[in-house]
Amino acid sequence: MAERVHMSGIGKRFGETVALAGVDFTAARGEIHGLLGENGAGKTTLMNVLSGLYRADRGQIAIDGVAAAISAPSDALRHGIGMVHQHVELIPTFSALENVLLGREGGRLWLRPERHREDIEALAARFGLALDLDVEVRRLAVGVQQKVEILRSLYRGVGILILDEPTTMLTPQEVDTLFGTLRAMADQGLTVVFITHKIREILANCDRVTVMRGGLQVATLARAEMDEGRLIELMIGERLQSSSPIAQASSGDVVLDVRDLAVQGERGRPVLADCTFRVGAGEVVGVAGVAGNGQRELADALAGALRPAGGRILLGGRDVTAASVRTRIAAGLVVIPEDRIADGLLPGLSVAENLVLGLHPFAFGGGLSFDRGRARALAREAIAEYAIRARSEDAMAVELSGGNIQKVLVARAMAQARAVGGRLLVATNPTRGLDVRATEFVRRRCLAFAEAGGGVLLFSEDLDELRQLCHRIVVMFRGAIVADFRRERFDPYAIGRLMAGAANPAAP
């Protein structure tokens, strides 16, 4: 195999944090090369260095055996390196065609997009990228936006394409299509670098894999040498037991009964319509859906942050549709919000103060006084029980790492549940961005909540996570619940089709 990319001894710091501590990486012509590691392992940073977005503090890069000085994205492009970032980097108000042309418009004075349409369409066909070039990008599904980004790189004639966690927001069907395209690219001699933390995707699609841990390259394996256990061990540095199987849901009371719930968005457009579903006691119900199909609004309406335009929410048989947040908490609602920093906590306050938020009307005997001593005692308990890594209970929340912030939120939710008798846990992407251990920890706590007789409503972009944890999965599309799957009927492709808007064949 001809060596295409050779990076050696790459080092990069951000302030005090060492992101890359002398990493070696090679990729060959015509291969799909996986770059595997946990969040924070340095995968993205390494590839940002290769694509010129970050400037390395030290180390060398050679492309096709020739030393390359890459200090800006324009240098990388000159060497035929393109990158598709985790969050789509397109101009939302431009058409797909304009996005592809941007920066390589051709022609001096006037913009003539039509002249290049044929070339671009031919290129798209060659790599199996079917899309309509005239639609404004913001109206396209995430999977299609990603195709536009890939096409944009191909139009620049890149020979090395890096994709950063490209499957995160895709349905299983879209993932298959993506890998079809990547394989076509590799077959035509391109080098594809595929960043992920999902071992299954590596095993299914990559010719070789480089594993990173803690800013270091720990191994590079050929396809024949890969197996799941070995990759996990390399990735996290130890053997880990995988998640415990979930217990049978106790077929008892209904803790959450949502009927015909509707929410109006900006300009009176309905963002949630006729949402009807139930969560039973001891049951974990997953909500699957492509981001932006009303999941956030549903979670907010349940939490009391959004006022519904119609329908009813019954929590433990009690109508809380118009109830205040405090009433809901008192009725047993516990929330782990999606955006941990913006919605989850107050970054400038201490861990102790954050832990007592929401719990405060119940923790201090209903009085108006804030009992600092009691708050700190509760915080010390939580820090010990949840192994939160903080300087002390007085440390500011903003000092904690993402995983520890998430632990604070989980600890707070569970403390609330304990104080008022938790009936329903609403959690949105509770494990996003966490390492394997913290993920495992959060999942166990959610399952324990259900085992203790509460109901759990779990919103997640990760279909694998939902399939692993849930008794049932409901699918959201355009603000409505379009399907309800029981565990024995979980089929990622069937769920994926519904997420993408296909009619439910099983619907009455």
Binding site: L53, P73, I91, F94, L101, L102, G103, G107, W110, R156
Partner: protein, 312 residues
């Protein structure tokens, strides 16, 4: 009050005269904002342009020299803003407000340095209207549209020009892209800094032209604070026009009409207090903005400094 006043051809003709500086300055601001930089100091920049234009015209007896000097003066200030915003990543609202205050003070100071304190202000010859041959003799329309100064014609010509530049050239595509998502533009190997400096230079020249218009077409002299909120109106016109040149022009005509009406009514209708009439354009602006601002979509990266290595 006679309703005929509302459709008086002279009122319409004056509407165009007053709309011109608003639209020129608004186009300048629009170009800068499309690149993702918010220039909130536009009022001060117009003032500096006005005083520079007046002083240079006074000294050289050349209106052209004065106009060019005024444009240059404003462009220096917009480039200064972008230096702070782009090179230093500073807060654009704070720097912009600082430049506004600086402009107010600097313009009055410059005037006093050159002319001292006087009871009767010096004045220069304003530009004469240039009737367009053939067109100027048309009934009503000729008087309204084609008895204007060259600068006024230019103002209206600039609207389609800026529109074409923004939507039909590679430069415009890149400029708009920078205002929406600079990281994307950077990743394609296009310099965000260069685009923003370029937009600031072009926009600054236009804002300067709008400021220079005031002494050289409207008054023939300079007085403290003579922009009288026109910079703020231009800033608002960009929002009103939803960052589109032709819609901004519509807004400029609307406000200029109210402004011209206020002058006209002040002469014809003595019963209405002049202060009330003076208030009209701003009151109008307030009412319109409340309606318009809902659903307006600003460039996504407006007023956000771009840092390539920012994580997250």
């Amino acid at each position: 009050m006679s309703l005929w006043l509302l459709v008086d051809p002279h009122l319409w003709q004056q509407t165009l005269v007053y709309a011109a500086p608003l639209i020129i300055a608004a186009l300048g601001e629009l170009i800068i904002e499309r690149s993702g930089v918010l220039n909130i100091g536009i009022e001060g920049m117009m003032l500096v342009a006005a005083v520079t234009c007046f002083v240079v015209t006074w000294q050289t007896r050349s209106a052209a020299a004065g106009i060019v000097a005024g444009m240059g003066a404003a462009a220096i200030l917009t480039l200064l803003l972008v230096y702070y915003a782009v090179a230093l990543g500073g807060p654009q609202i704070t720097v912009g407000l600082g430049l506004y205050v600086l402009g107010v003070g600097l313009s009055s100071l410059l005037f006093r340095v050159v002319f001292g304190v006087r009871t009767s202000p010096p004045s220069v010859q304003t530009l004469a209207p240039v009737p367009l041959p053939g067109l100027a003799d048309l009934p009503v329309v000729g008087h309204v549209f084609f008895h204007q100064t060259l600068l006024t014609y230019l103002a209206f010509l600039l609207v389609p020009l800026v529109h074409l530049a923004l939507f039909r050239t590679p430069w415009g595509l890149r400029l708009r892209a920078t205002g929406e998502n600079p990281r994307s533009v950077d990743a394609l190997g296009i310099s965000v800094e260069r685009l923003r400096y370029g937009a600031a230079a072009v926009g600054g020249l236009l804002i300067g032209l709008g400021g220079a218009y005031l002494p050289i077409v409207l008054t023939g002299t300079f007085s403290d604070n003579m922009t009288a909120g026109r910079g703020w109106l231009a800033l608002m016109l960009v929002i009103f026009g939803r960052w589109m040149p032709f819609t901004a022009l519509g807004g400029a005509l609307l406000f200029a009409y109210v402004e011209a009406f206020q002058f006209k009514a002040g002469i014809v209708e003595k019963a209405v207090p002049v202060q009330f009439l003076l208030m009209l354009p701003y009151l109008f602006a307030l009412v319109v903005l409340v309606r318009i601002y809902r659903g307006a979509r600003a460039p996504q990266a407006l007023a956000v400094p771009y840092d390539r290595e920012a994580r997250g």
